[in-house]
Symmetry: C2
Subunit: 628 residues, 2 copies
């Protein structure tokens, strides 16, 4: 019932900076922690401590910021080369970067006394929605460049977006950035200029700059000549499509086979506005579709009272605005001017399948984080993206679109599990997957925990029905050995797949497992309202587990509470059993209590009836696998 | 457990045409039913039968309509004068009106062989969202004037809205119409022209015409010169307001005191779009605010590529367009032309309190009908509108905004009850209140039932706590007589209100009722999962009811199921009791089973304990009011 965890304070504002096979680098308050993935323990001697100087902290306080914010939150990390790293921190609202040399051997780092201003590279406020990507020796950042947080920008020294130009960036909340094929793409949400006449709304965007953008001719030498943006369309189709308009998180680009075609896609979490009925969706966008939008028509407003309309193709100058060119400094001024004011594409980027792969409506939470284990090979050889989403209420939901491999226009999503990873009320900020440890790392502001990617090995699922009911591509039922096997073991074993079963669609499970019917446990789930509940359970006898010395075992799973007594109906002596109270990790991670009866009380193959009494608790699951 | 009901077929498309103290007139398939309100039985000899002629039915079938639609659904009723009525029906997609003479005496009617075309007065399709109001001897209708349903119009002979002019009416679904102060107002939803540049959306509207509109100068003699419309704004306030944009139903105008001021208001049900997450709201609009919007600036689009903007006041001609004038035929042509294309107001009509009085989010249903018992006088002398809303899933929700009397900007809504009036899946189309019978009449396509306005007299609420917990302005706890009394009895009795309690805010109830604590029944509600449930109930003895001949009574309330046995713990003989299985009217209407113990088994004032066993059912409520 305990999972690996790393606890800080909620004011640590943990941020995942980097990850390798064995460790995570976590940016935090005045420090970078180096944490092992398997047990989530900090590596001794590998911490980078970097508090703000007293002078900076005092200045920050003088400017009216709280003590808590007048700290150095490390937000940016870049591996400059094999021997050198750069990190940047908010440094008490005066962002700075530092270089460290990596020592050969144990990989510990030493500050090289090289410090530089990080304005435009690193946010002032640790909670600002900033992002960056480091590629080809350069940092592409999307953040704010001033103390007040008003001067949002996309920046790679020396080019930036126009300052205070709401047609380029309009109160953006940056989400992620990726490098792709000579471009850097940024994902964010912002106030939609083109919607202004219809009210006020936030739209999701992808924007793109060329890596070889050198700025324009005077006076544009410090400005992007290639900045374009397009709306991300995550909606339920219909005559009146329903939009999920506010991007909250994305994955990196994932390569895979979708609808029978090789493709590169990005999953994004999009939600309804804060003031609206709480709805969240996961949409997939193909990189091709994004690029196509950038090749399409532009959208512009002729004058302040005009509609936002498609720019006629005849009005678009040559070379095409936003296209990468050898030396952008030689571009005609008119073209640079065009792209400065006409940077919005008329077409939005459609989502793969033209609909979300997952939606969730709740009054109590929205989705806030996503991690994908890409292209997990299922028993049938098809590959599926196993998607984990986190909520701002501490939940992790795991699902698969079981049509993804073959269908390009239809979606059939199977929710495999929902786990309360953190106490309700805790927002999951980030998630990442470690294939080596088969672990999902779940990160909140002050806590990190590791969950297993699957539960095939849990006792609960060690029956044919339970194993197949998971509908989990990670798990297959081993008919020969009567075991729920992790799929990688199945593939690795080289055994014929004919001896295994997996039903992602949840169909025919009864038929497949019928032969186990008389051997499988009878399972009841009860709601208990603080009263005694009498349960009549019955089942068939399975062979007693030898390891329990021929004793019969009644296994009781409960989330919390007390099992008051267990005994066959004809036996008076009822024996008390207690379970741990208040297991916060609920759902999948449940306590297992094994009650060992005295030998002889249960008889092989002889049917009898039992009563089980419970008190004070909820949602008991009773598996009478050994009920006579 | 049975409520008065009147059953037809779902293809009757029941429509409430008129109502007096004792009867309802219901338009249906080929008939008008005259139904008593108290028992919902049809009055013999009062039915108006009017099937379509064979010729009309055949023509309808030839045009490709189903047999079911080739019938005469009566949709319009008007009391022309004391001796004459007019009714109109779809008449197999060829609408007709007929006049009937009302016989003195029993009020039965005789067809006077006077028939006229009803094009523009009555819909072709019985399910079309049409409405009308009959006032000053004239029928103001809002419907469609053609077989295909494309030619929507607002019509009073000979004036109509412009044909196929999407700036006047754009695929409207009409909801209701009321007469007010020289105007007729129509409430409806339609595709919002002014939103076209931002996508496609439906907005709610109120529009207005002058009753004395005589049409304009040539060529406008058959057109309204006074048609204006405004958006109805039912939204949750915020930087990004959340709109409920689709009007589904309204009440008539209600006069009352709201926020300390006399006002005339209309309640409307507004929902999110069909394809969106299901959300519904009830908003109140004051007639004053509606009129104010019509006095405000106009909104127009200069050309097809322009934004919809406020028309500068200097561009608005005199006399003010849409104002009622003595003879509209003498208006300047330019002014009539202005109002033809500039009929949308720039300001939308805000809702009272600037927010809904009730909202509900559900994946399974939306609100579809509303009825209000206006200005019910509560114990404290304040008057509250008791609001009943019906859902498209057969539910009736009753609530009160307990701040309405005194606050103009805040809302505190108390839900008093939720009743499953019809089987899930049945849409409630209309509701109306009969004060005389203290009944709520609930109308679906093929069924009508009558529910009590309140449940104060139900046994369940005959305790201090239960009575006050209702938070129902209709009910007060009579401290002197230990009874939950209907408020009209309290007011009528002339007794000092000091001996009564009512807590609409739900506060201090424990304190007020503490003195009854040891005398009040202990109530448990249990979930039963098809297993035996042991209940330990205990309570104090009250005096046995003399009418039961000194026998002790255990009263068991259950929705359905079987009570297997009841008996004191120390008595072995357990006695079986059965209740009616499957009561579909659930919630408030519950079966009461009274079990009479043999005298002597229970002893006054002697405390003892009981066990009650249940089987096969759900949600039992056990009141051990007589448990020893």
């Amino acid at each position: 019932a305990t999972v690996p965890s790393f606890f800080g304070n909620s004011t640590d504002y943990f941020k995942l900076l980097d990850q390798n096979e064995n460790t995570l680098l976590i940016g935090a308050r005045n420090a970078v922690y180096n944490i092992t993935i398997d047990q989530l323990v900090e590596l001794h001697g590998q911490r980078i401590s970097w508090p703000s100087s007293d002078a900076h902290r005092e200045l920050c306080t003088l400017k009216g910021k709280h003590d808590q914010d007048c700290q150095n939150y490390i937000r940016v990390y870049a591996r400059v080369n094999a021997n050198r790293i750069m990190i940047c921190g908010t440094n008490s609202f005066k962002p700075l970067c530092r270089y460290y040399n990596v020592l050969p051997g144990n990989g510990s780092v030493v500050y090289d006394n090289n410090e530089l201003e990080a304005q435009g590279r690193c946010p002032y406020n640790p909670q600002h929605n900033s992002t960056y990507v480091y590629t080809d020796g350069q940092l592409y950042s999307a953040t704010v460049a001033d103390f007040s947080g008003a001067d949002a920008l996309i920046y790679r020294e020396p080019q930036r977006t126009e300052q205070f130009d709401s047609k380029q960036l309009n109160q953006p909340a940056f989400v992620s950035a990726i490098e792709y094929n000579g471009y850097v793409m940024f994902f964010y949400r912002e106030v939609a200029m083109e919607y202004m006449n219809c009210g006020k709304a936030i739209y999701s965007r992808v924007s793109r700059v060329c890596k070889n953008d050198k700025g324009g001719p005077y006076p544009f030498q410090d400005k992007w000549t290639s900045f374009l943006k397009a709306r991300l369309n995550c909606s339920i189709p219909g005559e009146y499509p329903f939009y999920f308009d506010e991007l909250q998180a994305t994955t990196n680009a994932i390569s895979g086979t979708y609808g029978g075609m090789r493709n590169k896609i990005i999953y994004g979490i999009m939600t309804t506005p804060e003031n609206a009925i709480g709805g969240s969706a996961v949409c997939a966008f193909s990189v091709e579709d994004i690029m196509e939008a950038f090749e399409g028509p532009f959208k512009a407003q002729r004058d302040i009272h005009s509609n936002w309309l498609q720019v006629p193709p005849s009005s678009v100058p040559e070379p095409r605005p936003g296209k990468c060119v050898d030396d952008s400094r030689t571009l005609p001024k008119a073209l640079v001017n065009f792209v400065k004011t006409n940077n919005l594409m008329d077409n939005s980027v459609p989502s793969l399948h033209s609909r979300p792969v997952f939606t969730r409506v709740s009054l109590y939470y929205r989705l806030s984080a996503i991690a994908v284990d890409p292209q997990v090979k299922a028993l049938d050889g098809n590959r599926y993206d196993v998607i984990f989403v986190g909520t701002n209420d501490g939940k992790v939901i795991k699902f698969v679109n079981i049509l993804s491999a073959n269908s390009s226009d239809d979606v059939r999503t199977v929710v495999i599990s929902e786990t309360q990873a953190f106490p309700p009320g805790t927002k999951i900020n980030e998630m990442t997957i470690s294939k080596k440890n088969a672990a999902l790392i779940v990160i909140s502001s002050g806590k990190i925990i590791s969950l297993p990617l699957h539960n095939c090995n849990e006792h609960t699922f060690k029956t044919c029905r339970k194993c197949l009911d998971l509908q989990d591509p990670y798990c297959a039922w081993d008919d020969a050995n009567r075991d729920c096997k992790p799929i990688e073991d199945v593939h690795a074993s080289g055994a014929s797949i004919d001896q295994f079963y997996q039903r992602l669609d949840g169909e025919r499970i009864g038929e497949i497992c019928r032969k186990y019917d008389h051997q499988e446990p009878t399972v009841h789930t009860y709601e208990d309202n603080d009263v005694y509940t009498r349960v009549d359970g019955s089942g068939a006898v399975e062979k007693p587990d030898k390891s329990f010395d021929q004793r019969n075992v009644l296994i009781v799973h409960s989330n919390h509470g007390t099992v008051s007594s267990v005994g066959p109906e004809d036996i008076d002596n009822e024996i008390s059993m207690s379970s741990v109270e208040g297991d916060e990790l609920a759902n999948r991670i449940i306590n297992t209590h094994q009650y060992h009866h005295k030998p002889g009380k249960f008889r092989d193959g002889v049917s009898s009836r039992y009563r089980v009494y419970f008190a004070t608790g909820k949602n008991y699951t009773v598996i009478c696998s050994w009920c006579g």
